[in-house]
Symmetry: C2
Subunit: 327 residues, 2 copies
């Protein structure tokens, strides 16, 4: 059975998600929405046309069967003729209330199915946790934090914790290399917002020229420490460790596709026999952010679909559900 | 809510499992069975007394409230006055049909709850998969392959696979160091059965003196390649890769608690962008086999319990369910 999937958001992440889906037999992308429009095609969406149209005109709403709308998400999801089993919310993390507001749109639309996000911030996940009962009552299975971190690496931490009686610290360090930051305008601003002296509002208000000027000063590198990343709340929620024991940091090179360091998760704890030890999960450098985020997101979407078929609804996280491999 | 747990089998693995459980607040061990007897104690079993009695007399049936029986498992599990939510089957892997025969005992007993094993061989897991429908009909949630490998490392492979469009190979290499093999008589014979020129029957028939003589020749090391390990079928079952792409090997040092190599899982694949890369999960050397196997087994038991409470019954594996952290 092919799962009919929609992608909300069509920036760098959404476009990568569509490309990835086009290689899968078990999933078919039938719906896309960006800020200015949407497209629904029950037989599947042509990847090249969608990306070319978006890049040329600024919205998939300009596609042949597309619709231009400043309420694109609402219009797409509330149409009862649209047959979509699950959506990947490849939406910007900013503003911080955006993901929860989209979840509320789904709740009030009457649509039932599965939702997956690749959200980053702790405070954004907290808002979704607050919607848990509403999601359940609406027959929606929502899996949050399903990108790379939180997501792939949080799941690895939940696995690694199994050897320990007590977890002392979880350290996540990511390396990202991108050839050209302008393909990831929203993501880079989200990263800048984590830098000392910057906030979400400041980063979001920066012009492209201001971002360029900042990156010139740092030789294209964004170094991040003690980021507000939802890995902490996901692990705390499961009793693995308190959130202050989880640290996330990384280095983003905006001028080189080679990663400045290998992305890794280190979990240190004490075994029931009293030994202190560290398990390590290291990602191969050749896997891109797109592969690590989108691959994981659809693996969780498949897992969410299996839950939904068993009538298990509500909010779950990447640390408590095993992602399934999508062929 | 404290989960009342039983342990079947009380060799090295069962004893380690009991010690580990005694440190947990969320689980209480109320039942033990070995070949010659069993004990049930609704308020919990005293670790030290149980181990001392077993070591002195050869069975927990000699404990104050114990019962001697050559049908110990059957007698324990079929007694309707015994309130046990889940059992860890810490049983020898040999004979190869043993785990499935115990599963059948549970099916015919009328007991409902969760079962977890730390089984190793592919052929043994195949027998359990054959019982899937019977387990489901009996209201049992059975999680198989929940030790270290298969188990912890298979789960890590299922996570690692998420970055890839196609998985080329999964290589698991374990290092085990034990100070004194006689504490793990059954496990060591299982390992010997994987050595070239040996079979399950030959290994099982070996006297302790014969095992000693073999280990003298190898300086205490057992080197294993291309072992029949169920990691292969667990990953194949989920469509991650065909079983021939999964290899398991390792080195067991029977005379030194220090591991001869760091246990690790390497997964190599191709991303949707066409890049070949390898993710690596490495266990800290200070975590013992007991910590990695028993910690994981109870993490899956907790996950199985959550499934059971949602009326999800049948057979599942460590590669498709996320273990939950037991506090």
């Amino acid at each position: 059975m092919v799962i009919k999937v929609g992608i909300l958001g069509f920036g760098g992440l959404g476009q990568a998600a569509l490309k990835l889906l086009s290689t899968k037999q078990e999933m078919l992308c039938v719906a896309l929405a960006d800020q200015k429009g949407y497209v629904y095609a029950s037989q599947g969406i042509d990847v090249n046309k969608a990306i070319a149209t978006y890049q040329a005109k600024g919205s998939v709403g300009y596609l042949e069967s597309g619709v231009l709308s400043d309420q694109s998400i609402k219009a797409l999801i509330s149409n009862p003729n649209h047959n979509v089993s699950g959506y990947f919310l490849a939406l910007p993390n900013l503003p911080n209330t955006f993901m929860a507001s989209v979840a509320k749109e789904f709740i009030s639309s009457g649509w039932q199915g599965v939702l997956v996000d690749a959200i980053k911030r702790t405070s954004a996940v907290e808002q979704l946790i607050g919607l848990s009962e509403d999601l359940k009552a609406s027959g929606i299975t929502y899996l949050t934090g399903c990108g790379a971190t939180p997501g792939l690496l949080t799941a690895a931490a939940a696995i690694a914790a199994q050897s320990f009686a007590e977890v002392h610290k979880v350290e996540i360090q990511f390396g990202v290399g991108i050839a050209n930051w302008s393909a990831y305008r929203a993501t880079i601003r989200e990263d800048i917002a984590h830098m000392p002296g910057y906030t979400v509002d400041i980063a979001q208000a920066m012009t492209d020229a201001e971002v360029e000027a900042l990156l010139d000063k740092t030789n294209g590198l964004i170094t991040l420490e003690h980021m507000e990343h939802a890995d902490d709340i996901l692990l705390e929620r499961l009793g693995i460790c308190s959130r202050d024991r989880v640290t996330v940091g990384g280095v983003v090179d905006t001028r080189n596709p080679k990663k400045p360091l290998s992305t890794n998760m280190k979990l240190t704890g004490r075994t029931f026999e009293g030994k202190i030890s560290t398990h390590t999960f290291t990602l191969g450098d050749e896997t891109s952010m797109a592969a690590n985020v989108c691959g994981t997101a659809f693996g969780y979407l498949k897992a969410a679909q299996a839950f939904h078929q068993k009538s298990i609804h509500g909010l779950f996280t990447s640390a408590e559900v095993m992602p399934l491999f999508v062929q």
